[in-house]
């Protein structure tokens, strides 16, 4: 318990509004009463650990993992990489990062996805990895297609990759989406618009990273992630009220 530290309060103003009528599903799925705020406890200051033994060799390669290397997925080859840090700037090492995405035509391999763009027989659409000691992660994948979705009559999701990140404690748990630099659909997307501060939304747009691209092979995009920090002080063990 000696390494247990209180979490920095979540800065709700950088996060999306739970209720955003242009994103119709949020209307009936957003709490109408305020959240109960309090300092983190042991239950948020601990969390599950996942070791490298969890991973298979192709887990972070979405081009090949669905066929276990037998055939490659169709699409523009992309290396998606970055670092996971916390609010104090420290790398978050050894943490599980999971992603999922549509195929190059904008279709998910999911029973509920009825868009008529075809499935790619060689593409499953998920991957995972564990950050290294510097908090670094990387995936090989294909650029996901934009896709239409049932919201307003002509809404389209920009190209995006869904990210799930654990961090060392359960209170740091985060799911977000990574967009791609220059996509004109970002400005039109009601889900992206749930983040009201444009400078915060910009932080979800991965930058084209030519220096880490490889000629005749793949383009790189860099997507850094920041999790909640943990307060470090020698004054934390006093009883409440002192």
């Amino acid at each position: 318990m000696s390494d247990q530290k209180p979490l920095m309060p979540r800065r709700r103003e950088v996060h999306p509004l739970p209720y955003w009528p242009d994103y119709k599903t949020s209307v009936a799925r957003s709490p109408s009463l305020p959240l109960l705020s309090m300092e983190s406890t042991t239950s948020e200051e601990t969390g599950p650990r996942f070791g490298h033994s969890t991973l298979g060799p192709l887990d972070n390669n979405l081009i090949e993992n669905y066929t276990q290397g037998a055939a490659k997925a169709v699409g523009e080859r992309v290396r998606l990489h970055g670092r996971v840090m916390d609010e104090t700037g420290r790398p978050v090492a050894g943490t599980l990062v999971e992603i999922w995405q549509a195929n190059a035509g904008g279709r998910y391999r999911h029973i509920k996805d009825t868009y008529f763009a075809p499935l790619d027989p060689n593409f499953g659409g998920c991957g995972r990895t564990i950050t290294d000691d510097a908090g670094y992660y990387e995936f090989m994948t294909i650029r996901p297609g934009a896709y239409p979705w049932p919201n307003r009559a002509n809404d389209w999701r920009p190209m995006h990759v869904h990210f799930s990140i654990f961090g060392p404690t359960f209170g740091q748990r985060l799911i977000t989406q990574c967009y791609f630099q220059g996509d004109p659909l970002i400005d039109l997307c009601p889900i992206a618009a749930t983040i009201r501060d444009r400078s915060q939304l910009d932080r979800l747009v991965a930058a084209l990273d030519m220096q880490n691209s490889r000629g005749m092979d793949y383009l790189a995009y860099k997507f850094d992630i920041v999790l909640r920090g943990r307060r470090q002080t020698m004054f934390e063990n006093r009883p409440e009220g002192m």
Binding site: Y23, H110, C126
Partner: protein, 199 residues
């Protein structure tokens, strides 16, 4: 001007969307063969100490509809109140589970051990509880809440004590429906809205 605080800002959340299962529980979603099995299938293994309990329930939206697409993660202590990674924790309790609403009925099931009371940094003790994190299409930032047990002594719990409208405490209490079985519904909005946490 002042010195810079030199802090980063947490990455904003976005909804997990309707296809969260592909990323988190792909086998459940029918995407088979990438991973040998889904992560967090069970929070316990054979030999876990304590009482095995089965908790069923649904996640309801503001219209009273049991959502078919919600995914829930749970995190809990072992029967002695220790979390995995803490000294003396039960090696057969990972404490972490992922489960989803049934696509036809909207009902979820969590089979686990009943956790023990948990000590805090300041010496206070929390009544036995399971932390839940709910994500789905239309939920723009994951919802944290807790499941307590109606047949435990919850009187001194520091979190429950902070709920001003005392009748809302009931939204965090699992109802005993039989020996080792409990029922716990989550209501995102409206009458009986679950207390969600900013913690």
């Amino acid at each position: 001007m002042t010195q810079s605080l030199d802090m980063l800002v947490e990455t904003p959340s976005q909804t997990a969307g309707p296809y969260v299962h592909i990323g988190c529980i792909p086998t459940f979603a029918g995407v088979e063969g990438i991973y040998p099995q889904d992560l967090g299938l069970s929070p316990i293994e054979d030999g876990a100490k304590g009482q095995i309990v089965t908790i069923t329930g649904s996640v309801f939206d503001g219209t009273g509809w049991a959502m078919r697409d919600a995914m829930i993660e749970s995190w809990q202590a072992d029967a002695a109140g220790r979390y995995a990674g803490q000294e003396g924790a039960d090696p057969n309790v990972s404490g972490f589970c992922r489960f989803a609403a049934d696509k036809d009925s909207g009902q979820f099931t969590l089979r686990t051990v009943k956790p023990g009371a948990v000590a805090n940094r300041d010496g206070s003790v929390m009544a036995p509880h399971i932390t839940l994190w709910i994500v789905a299409r239309g939920i723009n930032i994951g919802l944290h809440t807790r499941l307590y047990f109606e047949d435990e002594n919850n009187d001194q719990d520091p979190l429950l004590a902070r709920i001003e409208q005392r009748h809302r405490v009931d939204t965090l209490l699992a109802r005993k429906t039989g020996e080792g079985s409990y029922h716990f519904d989550i209501r995102l909005q409206g009458e009986g809205e679950t207390v969600f946490l900013d913690i």
